[in-house]
């Protein structure tokens, strides 16, 4: 029982850490999904994580868009503003609590990609419209639906659409018509990023070179270059996570091995009796391994449940989003495949931990054990 508890605690720890880290890395990767196959243009001094500028100056909208539009090989240009989140005190959190994008209305569907719109959703009339769309998680938290009114920085905005998507970032996102976003957040004619779609057969790389040559104050990045920026960071995060998981697994292995060695030692007489009755060594081996397998299955199952719950609680604490809102999307936070991998790993570790005691039990000299009983 103690062993099952120990394995369950280890599994809880591994799953909570793993799922939380995975959520963070997924959110970071998701940002780039919005700009698949596009070149992103930011100010030269901007610090960028994937496609998201997190510092540096903004770009003047019209002159920059005009200059980019006339570069050969440019098919479409979309200026975007990422103004401050609604709750500024939570902006520094790694998983955005609330995220706002100002996008020209004509580009909403192409930037958002395949989202599922809730009832009565419609696009705003123009870029100055006060109509906005909200991600499903954000809308659920605040009880917004089509027709709801929101006050932001003294402006009244009207919800004209609520969408659901598997992307954690978009689910927490407010989409505002570009001009309205610039007005509400007081960034007139300024944007953070310009997404540039290359014409057919024009390599992104060539386009970035052309943009940087034509416009001195911008930096242009291809999808590969954006990925290259965060790849080392994500790789390090994954390495650390793997390291922590490995340490926990090794501790579990030692725990299972130690406890099983003790229980095998306590049951020497049983194993010797089995041996005296002619049980094959494989029978004794199987008996011990089955026991550690069951410890793994039980501890793993309990750990899976408590680990998933812990990951939800952590996500709720880090984002200030009510726990109840996470339950419907629990499988996004702790993906089933990850749970299966961890469960198999835990069971495997437990079986491995049973190997040494099982071999000890097989090699027991029955005459010595039985003689000691007399």
């Amino acid at each position: 029982m103690l062993c099952v508890l120990g394995v369950a605690i280890a599994a809880t720890f591994v799953i909570a850490i793993g799922a939380t880290t995975m959520r963070y890395t997924t959110v970071i990767r998701e940002v780039d999904v919005l700009f698949n196959g596009q070149v992103t243009v930011v100010s030269k001094d901007a610090i960028v994580i994937q496609a998201l500028p997190i510092g540096g100056s903004m770009l003047p909208q019209d002159p920059t868009v005009e200059k980019i539009s006339i570069i050969p090989g440019v098919r479409a240009v979309t200026p975007i503003i990422f103004p401050s989140p609604i709750e500024s005190n939570t902006v520094i959190q790694a998983v955005p609590v609330n995220f706002t994008m100002g996008i020209p209305v004509e580009d909403w569907t192409s930037i958002l990609g395949p989202v599922s719109l809730r009832r009565n959703a419609h696009l705003p009339a123009n870029d100055s419209s006060s109509e906005i769309w909200s991600g499903g998680s954000l809308a659920d938290q605040y009880g917004w639906r089509v027709g709801s009114e929101i006050r932001v920085n003294g402006y009244t905005l009207h919800v004209s659409g609520v969408f659901d998507t598997s992307m954690a970032l978009l689910n927490r996102c407010l989409i505002i018509p570009l001009a309205m976003a610039q007005t509400v957040y007081n960034y007139p004619q300024l944007v953070n990023i310009i997404a540039v779609r290359p014409a057919l057969n024009v390599p992104e790389q060539n386009l970035t070179i052309a943009i940087k040559q034509k416009i001195g104050y911008v930096n242009a990045l291809t999808e590969t270059q954006r990925n290259d920026i965060v790849q080392p960071i994500l790789a390090q995060v994954q390495t650390w996570t793997l390291g922590i998981e490995a340490v926990v697994f090794i501790i579990s292995l030692i725990l299972v091995m130690t406890v099983t060695i003790m229980t095998v030692s306590e049951r020497r007489r049983d194993f010797a009796t089995l041996d005296a009755m002619g049980a094959p060594t494989s029978y004794v081996f199987r008996a011990v391994i089955t026991e550690t397998f069951l410890i793994g299955v039980l501890g793993g199952a309990v750990g899976l449940a408590t680990g998933s719950l812990t990951a939800l609680v952590l996500a709720s604490i880090y984002t200030n989003i009510p726990l109840a809102l996470f339950f419907p999307s629990i499988l996004d936070i702790v993906p089933p495949l990850y749970l299966l991998e961890m469960f198999l790993a835990i069971v495997g570790v437990c079986c491995l931990g049973g190997l040494v005691p099982a071999i000890n039990a097989m090699r027991m000299r029955i005459a010595e054990v039985l003689r000691a009983e007399y």
């Binding site: 005296a276 002619g278 049980a279 029955i366």
Partner: protein
């Protein structure tokens, strides 16, 4: 089953010295018999039974089972002989605490790959033989000492062994229960024509045995 030992010796290393627990023991059990091996503690009775029961390897000498030298057989073959031809009864019963009485009796048959139906049928019959039909579903801790030893005897009989090896079977029992167990073992010998070899301190066994050997300092003397 004919059991013969020829100059059987078993020594143990204790520190730097070597102690012979069994010294050149030659023993011959041709026909089914009720054999008692008596002697003080430390005289080598249990060591001798472990050698005869193929639970241990001799330092020198031979254990012949049906005239074949079993003392150097591979472990797999020794296990097969133990399972098919021998039954063991221990002083402290050695029942499996998580199994019921009937499951304990079924275990040697399960190891011999008998069918479930056969296991259950024979186990129930054996429990009836030892008078424990009503206690079939009880676990060892729910049984008295005497009942536990009866279950152990039923278990020893599970695979219809030709020899039962009992080491101090009455060692933990009161005198009345001990008499019942001795009587049960004697009945098994008489009805099943099974050789019963008992190592004991218990003088009462001497009265019912038809061959009595005394072990002293690892050496065997014939009394009857």
């Amino acid at each position: 089953m004919r059991i013969r030992t020829v100059n059987l010796t078993r020594s143990f290393h204790v520190g730097s010295s070597e102690i012979a627990a069994v010294k050149s023991v030659s023993l011959n059990i041709n026909d089914p018999k009720f054999v008692a091996i008596i002697g003080p503690s430390g005289s080598g009775k249990s060591t001798l039974l472990n050698l005869i029961g193929l639970n241990d390897y001799p330092t020198s000498g031979q254990v012949l089972i049906n005239d074949a030298d079993a003392s150097r057989l591979a472990n797999r073959e020794r296990r097969r002989i133990r399972n098919a031809h021998m039954g063991f009864v221990f002083q402290s019963f050695n029942l499996f605490p998580t199994l019921s009485a009937v499951e304990n009796v079924e275990l040697p048959m399960s190891l011999a790959n008998r069918s479930q139906e056969e296991q259950r049928e024979r186990a129930l019959r054996l429990l009836e033989t030892v008078g424990l039909t009503q206690r079939r579903d009880h676990r060892p801790k729910q049984l008295s000492m005497g009942e536990m030893q009866r279950v152990a005897i039923a278990r020893a009989l599970a695979n219809k062994p030709e020899t039962i090896i009992a080491d101090e079977p009455t060692g933990e029992l009161d005198s009345k229960t001990a008499r019942e167990i001795i009587s049960l073992l004697r009945n098994i010998y008489e009805k099943e024509k099974t050789t019963v070899i008992v190592a004991t301190h218990d003088e009462k066994i001497v009265d019912v045995a038809n061959a009595v050997y005394t072990m002293q300092d690892g050496q065997l003397k014939t009394d009857i």
